[in-house]
Symmetry: D2
Subunit: 333 residues, 4 copies
Amino acid sequence: MLGLALLGSGRMADVYGPKINAHPGFHLVTIYNPRLASAEKAVARHGGTADDDLARVLGDDRIDAVIIATPTDTHLEYVQACAKAGKPVYCEKPLDMTLERVDKCLDALAAHPVPFMLGFNRRFDPDIRRLQTAVRDGEIGALTFLMSWSREPAPPPIAYVRRSGGYFIDATIHDIDLLCWIAGERPAEVFASGSCLFDPAIAAEGDVDATMTVMKMPSGCLAHVNNSRACAYGFDQRLEAFGRDGMLQTRNHRDDNLVRWDDTRTNASMPLKHFFLERYDASFYHALDEFHRALTEERAPSCTAADGRTALAIALACERSRREHRAVEPEYV
Amino acid sequence: MLGLALLGSGRMADVYGPKINAHPGFHLVTIYNPRLASAEKAVARHGGTADDDLARVLGDDRIDAVIIATPTDTHLEYVQACAKAGKPVYCEKPLDMTLERVDKCLDALAAHPVPFMLGFNRRFDPDIRRLQTAVRDGEIGALTFLMSWSREPAPPPIAYVRRSGGYFIDATIHDIDLLCWIAGERPAEVFASGSCLFDPAIAAEGDVDATMTVMKMPSGCLAHVNNSRACAYGFDQRLEAFGRDGMLQTRNHRDDNLVRWDDTRTNASMPLKHFFLERYDASFYHALDEFHRALTEERAPSCTAADGRTALAIALACERSRREHRAVEPEYV
Amino acid sequence: MLGLALLGSGRMADVYGPKINAHPGFHLVTIYNPRLASAEKAVARHGGTADDDLARVLGDDRIDAVIIATPTDTHLEYVQACAKAGKPVYCEKPLDMTLERVDKCLDALAAHPVPFMLGFNRRFDPDIRRLQTAVRDGEIGALTFLMSWSREPAPPPIAYVRRSGGYFIDATIHDIDLLCWIAGERPAEVFASGSCLFDPAIAAEGDVDATMTVMKMPSGCLAHVNNSRACAYGFDQRLEAFGRDGMLQTRNHRDDNLVRWDDTRTNASMPLKHFFLERYDASFYHALDEFHRALTEERAPSCTAADGRTALAIALACERSRREHRAVEPEYV
Amino acid sequence: MLGLALLGSGRMADVYGPKINAHPGFHLVTIYNPRLASAEKAVARHGGTADDDLARVLGDDRIDAVIIATPTDTHLEYVQACAKAGKPVYCEKPLDMTLERVDKCLDALAAHPVPFMLGFNRRFDPDIRRLQTAVRDGEIGALTFLMSWSREPAPPPIAYVRRSGGYFIDATIHDIDLLCWIAGERPAEVFASGSCLFDPAIAAEGDVDATMTVMKMPSGCLAHVNNSRACAYGFDQRLEAFGRDGMLQTRNHRDDNLVRWDDTRTNASMPLKHFFLERYDASFYHALDEFHRALTEERAPSCTAADGRTALAIALACERSRREHRAVEPEYV
């Protein structure tokens, strides 16, 4: 039974709280927030003890590892503190929004090498994982095309957009990570194009809400991503892998699996699961479980900080490509 | 090029007229109806010459074969006349509604053995034929279950119901013929149950508009048919064959093959093709083509009068089963 | 937190053990088996204390309710004992294999009215429950046809068949319960037909391994069930409800949700979940949860002993119908 | 009945011959080829009279219109000759492979304005047409994304590749035309990326066999095309249109519509129709029919020479984009 401190008490902490409690190998000891009242409210929901003193939390012997579920711009500070304190870290993605600050995280982890896992939870979705495994096992032969659809049900509040780092860094980064992970390589160059078609307030921020991205891998494999901030029928999440010997696809998920026939539509299903909390509910648990197994098996977790840097470098290259209308090589280390 | 006389100028004649004209090996010479004005109207639609004198039609050297598309209660008379005149016959199903009269047809064909084909057109639907071939080729191993769905879009006029011989003889007979043909055997006993759930006028005639039938084959294979006189989403036509090694299914057909996603339904298709003229349009042509090939290859057509007698005997047994609440053995010869 | 005694330590006890442990409102206190060694082995798997003295178990104040997961022929004895002891009971289906003995259960529960739930777990499968709710809510209008497929992956050991009471009582009873529950009525008469097509040893016992059943409801609604003891592609479990306004279907479940395309097959999925433990894994938990909520909300559980009697009466009528080749009216009270 | 001259007697002429013969409003008068022996062989297949004298053909009063189905590099010469002779022209796509020569075609048609139709047959595929109509009718609201898949079953002979003008001009041009036609606009800029992953001989020619293309429309709508010269499961042809209110998709076509279940795959279909002659068989007929109706209704055919120029300009921009790794604006007039 590993004791955990959960840093943060907002939306993402509310995602992790129930998963920690459901996991037989974790015990939630502390919820930390510099604003104690907020931590106390989260404790009322998920248990543990509220604390607003980070040094005390990191010095607590009962804490075997830390889950960072705070705002993105605080990740660097907390990763550094945990690393110095020798506490293993699971950090919600993204690590940060600039390569400079991500590199400081990498430096901290190099100086104080604690086990570290970045929360690219979608890799732990059972369907996506099976697709990745099947591709790696050669079920469809050498990869030719990878395609990813991520269409969100509705635009977020404009305040969220403003702090998001732009659509590629906020959202496409998920698809980027998945496609690189499935392909087993990272793109030599990317091209991205974007429009603002759903919410003019997003255009007013200089951002876009509908994008198409092309990544060209060193093997020649071509990858496509399309993202939109709105989708009439729910959270459209599909992957397609096309290789020399065949094709694999993941299906969308619905709350209701009935097939309906009436005088207007036949063979129909209900709209899709609403958004990521519904669609990827299980993957957060499986991601925590990977963290647990890595700690207990004394091996490195499979989602690394370097993976986070790679995905961010690609997302930044997408943003630059969109602005410069040309293919861009990501700034890898 | 074989010259044809088309007997009848009503709804079924209007089905066969265009198919005859589209077939490169047939030439429509004459449309016969004892009411000349009706034949003349059909000639205006399909070509040929109108005639109201059957002896003259059957004595015409240009007539190589006869298509009987008249009301069911006239089939016997016309089959007898054609057989005596030595003209090959394609007769729309059913041969007749009583075994006595069907046996007279069989007697006439035995006495004057002309090529004869009964128009069980659904056997010539490409999907159904592929299923039958796959079953016969052993693709799913020994048959266990056969299932047939035939749900019509809307109840027919009550006048039609009155003359139809009852729902089993009017409609189930199609499913019966298909399932016997696919199984390659005919049932040792049948059980049928029926309700009147859509049109009370049908109940007033002592008939039903929703039925379930079970046929037990000598091999032990069990066959299910469900028929309804109404169906909200069009003409539901499905077959399922389940054997030791697997299952085969035919899909429904639609005029529009798009897949639609919106805020109420996903992965949806339009309602089904409206009714048998739309769904089985091609099968009438393929049935005529079988007749043509049988004549030119000098072999017996594959749908025989005996097949018609078998299907009728089974349908009559279904009707009796429904009334007597017990399994009934069909009266085969 | 309700304390439970689990009677039985065989296959079904191993189904319930983990569900009890996963449920936040239950606590497994005792596992009972008259053979103590067997109970001890189950305790090693699921926790609690082993006991071979039923009186002691039922007299234990820590036991709030009892789960009966013993062989069918012992259910009566245990239900009577629990009722006398005033302990609420969840009993695995079927209650018993004869109406006489089931009526003794009903008598015991009438004399000592403890909360009682019969484990028709499939009613608690989320897809099936949604279909039932949609039908009851009038989504497809008045019901015309109900259809249920239950095709098992492979025949059970012949020793199991011998004790099973026959295929209708062992297996069809599940479909019977579901269809009556969905329809909201019980059949006025049933007809069943069966063959032995998979395992000749089953025929040698006078039993069948492939059946088709028709149930006619008082409303006129017709219900079809097909059951087979073997199925090449896994555990085929489907429901179809057809009403005046449309149709609802449940889909099969697979362990792997990928869609596969290669040079032999397109748009393909893997074989189905293997058998009931895999397919209905969640429904056992949801059934226990219904039991828990009924106890804590002080209301009667929704699956009653009378429901079990009804399903048995229908299954017995099916067996008789198969032997007598006629429609049979079930012996309801 | 319009008399036709068919120019050419190769593969594409063999596509058009049977469609002309099947069309009730066309009559095949002449097949022209400068090599008379080739024309004579085609006449043996399709009827008409062979001729090797173009002036005689174009001066023949029985010829109401001309179908050009010759090698692409001869289209210009024949279009010019037909236009001068005042004969309406249906010309197989592409008009030519350079904008210079296409502009000469446009000049000839401007100088001698005969009815002219370019054979973008896929616009006349019933499924694609329904999608285009539904999009134009606003069924899914303002367009956000358009996607097109064209994956060919196997690489063509290298001699074909050499003369093809490159993959974008040879193949992507079909998708380009469809997407512009569906969107009702043409891209402001395109980006294309390509690899050679199937046939190294294609790379040796400086060409690619796997491409991804992004087109950005003035409205902001983003369009994706993926093309491959090989596909294990047949000719993969899909379209997806995603708008503010929903999504529309076209399905692939198969020769065999059965659904198959066995111990390795469930819910499976056979591989796709082999290639364009099989998949788009009907669309060639419907394209000819559009040409016929335009001539008899005295209106311009719906696929214009200008449409051909637009598609070529975009395909050339794709090729340039691939080589220059940047977004390119097509050279429209």
